[in-house]
Symmetry: C2
Subunit: 500 residues, 2 copies
């Protein structure tokens, strides 16, 4: 996950946009807020009550007595039915889409042989106190708990992961390859309809200093894109190394402690004017010459230019060459390109950094990550080489929608069991129970007209309708209607489960 | 979710116990906290560096240069590596157990044809403000956000669900059958090692006033127990109806508004003395005669006694009889029994209530739920009949451990790719990439001794070891070792993926 949160920074102006991207899914119904005291009608509730005692496709079903349960609203003034500002509900259709996306995250993580981990969404504020001026630490959703402790709804997951790595200590053998999918939060006062939470897929490799780690992480990202139907003509992954900037600072004899802050400032390039960046660098204590060196190196458009500028012996150059060479072997060269302007917004990166973007340049970064070998020492422990990325749930869904790649995540049910008479509630239970024991998903429908049932069956993609009628039941049978073929059979009760 | 939170109440003294039940899993390594500035050793890092250029099972693998990345810890004093008090981390082995449990929750929900939903873990406090004296509302993890809004880390999920039902309004057709698995929080000042968060599986049926809803929910719980290997001799589900208490209050001409508070007080029976209960009831405004009526009815041990006491025309009696009759048809009669003392601790229940418990009586309630037809009006909207349960992640794992039913949730990987030479990093990438494209899970191992690799392979249950050696690679081959059969083959590079 690691660099996950740099998303917050990089995508600053729009990442937590209020548009619910899950709700952008074409099958999402339009939600609306009911006026207070409105009544939610139950289909069929106003139909006349008839009692069907024989089985027929046209049978009018008995209407239930649900009406009586509708009570007058209390005197309390209606509550706001929206979730807290900047947060989302996930009704079933949005949840299906979210599960689909997360299942893809999990499948790629499995294929890369990563293990899933998780951490509390509530963390100690101390884990996120950094002084490099990152937006992520300026927008903490923090507060004091009743015991006087400073806590925070985590803005990113990397620090928790680092905490657990330290805690696990000698009980684990390095390298660790961990992934997690978790919710991250931010708070900003200016509410321009931005979201305050998003979900993030994180993959991290702890204990590998070689470029293999970066190459594996980028492989995961590429495999995900391919799995989702995204092409390398749609999306690219920009790669650079912070060692380039580090070297420039060294060449100008700037103190090492400026490094993180310089990176955070430089990351704003493209979002604020170059003049502002230069001003901020000077304020931070960077010399005018060093500022010019930084500006110059960031404008270089190829690795060979960087090599010319810094010399081929330079670590930054060697790292990047190694990565591009490995990419060739993995077979994902067409997805990546060098871009000196990529810095990422998190303070703790110290080596290769990368971010995926749509080639049309319409959207914010899709994901981003990098190497963070020096994070553990900021917590007071010895460092371990580490590398990771964060991949949010927002931009990828925007992109998939744009490219018409969102799937039809429909509801599926095997059987609908329909007692045709109130007296048959028991037998219907028996049938449903035997089908469920076979692992079939079974909906029992009562007190609805057949028309409603057929519409419902279509909506939930039911395979079969099991009609439990009096006459048949007496003979130990039910009617099984295959909803695809429209075929209808009388089947012995014991054989319903085995017939599919 | 619904009645989920009544768990908090019922299980008051121990529900959020600090014992990490996932960590109770036998495969969990013992975690410990490192002394500050300790160094985490990387296996193999101290081994001598030899370069194997030919392939052999006995080859000594090159040792990587990971060591150089270990840096001295900073001057910062070490942070606390524990998660916030009362919360849990989920390292891989605990996460596998959690996923296993949640997958079972999901599978049962699927079989019952429920749809998954989700809500923000952060909610408006207004959703949980109730005056019946429930423990759950007295232990809210609440605070004011920076915008001055009263918010809360939700203690239960039912109110969020009700909120979404109202919000969805006319866009949805009733009944709704929803499930969710989410984290719930509580805050209590007295920290006796109790947990402040747990996960809860919730299933709710909205829009069915018939006892079918309760019968379906109990069916789900029973199916889960059966799936987990739990027997009806291990676990029972106690069932009662709050309508019994409601009727007693009516018989003594007590005002209806006392109902919720009386239920919350009475729920404490068995945890505090009968004298205290009686005192609290009197304080609440219940007459001495009504108190005696309540005490009398709660001690009745069978449904027929209740019938005698209230008369067979009584709704409470009819409801319970209907439920027991349906249970017979579903085939789970042996799991349920009537128990007048079951009330549950949430204010909003108004009909049938139930809870599952281990028959030995060693543990707290495993899950609990009931009917809450009048919740929506407390939010200022018209009511809709509803019913649900909450099922925590804690007690069930305790029980499974007790009964020796915890599974071996092991890590599984298909292939380990092992370049036998640093120069073969590229070819190894190529092989790994082709295997992953086939959906195989592939770990690439570098810079480790063969002994470590075999140990690792055993630990992660790898099926195959793919050795990439120079000699073979020149001939377009790799060595594939089947780790179960110990069979070793030279295989053409293109055929590695198809051979399994």
């Amino acid at each position: 996950m690691s660099v996950a949160s740099s998303l917050h920074h990089f995508l600053r102006p729009r990442l937590f946009h209020s548009q619910n991207l899950f709700a952008a899914f074409p099958h999402s119904p339009q939600l609306f807020i009911l006026p207070c005291r409105c009544r939610i009608p139950r289909p069929g509730a106003s139909a006349s009550s008839t009692t069907a005692t024989t089985t027929s496709n046209e049978a009018q079903l008995p209407v239930c007595d649900d009406d009586e349960a509708t009570m007058a609203a209390s005197e309390r003034s209606p509550i706001d039915v929206n979730p807290p500002r900047g947060t989302r509900d996930f009704p079933p259709e949005d949840m299906r889409l979210r599960n689909w996306l997360f299942d893809n995250f999990r499948e790629i993580s499995r294929v890369l042989s990563f293990e899933e981990v998780d951490f509390p969404v509530l963390e100690s504020e101390a884990l996120f106190i950094r002084k490099a001026g990152e937006e992520i630490t300026q927008q903490l959703y923090n507060f004091e708990d009743k015991g006087g402790r400073r806590v925070v709804l985590r803005p990113e997951i990397t620090p928790s992961l680092a905490r657990l790595v330290i805690k696990q200590g000698k009980s684990v053998s390095l390298p660790l390859k961990w992934f997690t999918i978790g919710q991250c939060w931010r708070y900003e006062r200016m509410t321009r309809g931005r979201r305050r939470e998003h979900y993030q897929w994180n993959m991290d490799i702890i204990g590998i200093s070689k470029i293999r780690a970066e190459a594996e992480l980028i492989h995961a990202i590429v495999l995900l894109f391919e799995r989702l139907g995204i092409k390398s003509s749609d999306v690219g992954i920009k790669v650079s190394s912070r060692k380039v900037l580090e070297r420039v600072l060294q060449l100008h004899s700037m103190p090492e402690k400026l490094f993180a802050e310089v990176c955070v400032i430089v990351d704003k390039l493209g979002k604020v004017t170059r003049e502002e960046i230069e001003k901020d660098l000077i304020s931070a204590g960077v010399s005018t010459q060093a500022v010019q060196g930084i500006v110059e190196v960031l404008s270089l458009k190829s690795l060979s230019k960087i090599e010319e500028f810094l010399g081929s012996e330079e670590e930054a150059v060697a790292d990047l060459k190694k990565l591009f060479s490995l990419a060739e072997h993995y077979g994902y060269s067409q997805w990546i390109n060098f871009d000196a302007s990529v810095v990422r917004g998190l303070a703790y990166y110290n080596g290769i950094v990368f971010e995926a973007f749509d080639r049309e340049g319409k959207l914010r970064a899709i994901c981003g990550g990098g190497r963070y070998d020096r994070l553990l020492s900021t917590f007071g422990y010895d460092d371990i080489p580490a590398c990771g990325f964060g991949f949010g749930d927002a931009v990828i869904l925007e992109l998939l929608k744009e490219k018409d790649l969102l799937p039809d995540v429909l509801r599926h049910v095997d059987d609908i069991v329909l007692p045709l008479d109130e007296e048959l509630a028991g037998p219907a239970s028996k049938i449903a129970s035997s089908l469920r024991k076979e692992g079939r998903s079974v909906d029992i429908i009562e007190d609805k007209r057949l028309k409603w049932v057929f519409k419902h069956a279509e909506k939930i993609n039911a395979k079969r309708l099991i009609l439990v009628g009096n006459t048949e039941w007496q003979r130990g049978m039910v009617i099984v209607k295959n909803l695809a073929s429209r075929e209808e059979l009388q089947v012995k009760i014991d054989e319903v489960a085995s017939l599919s």
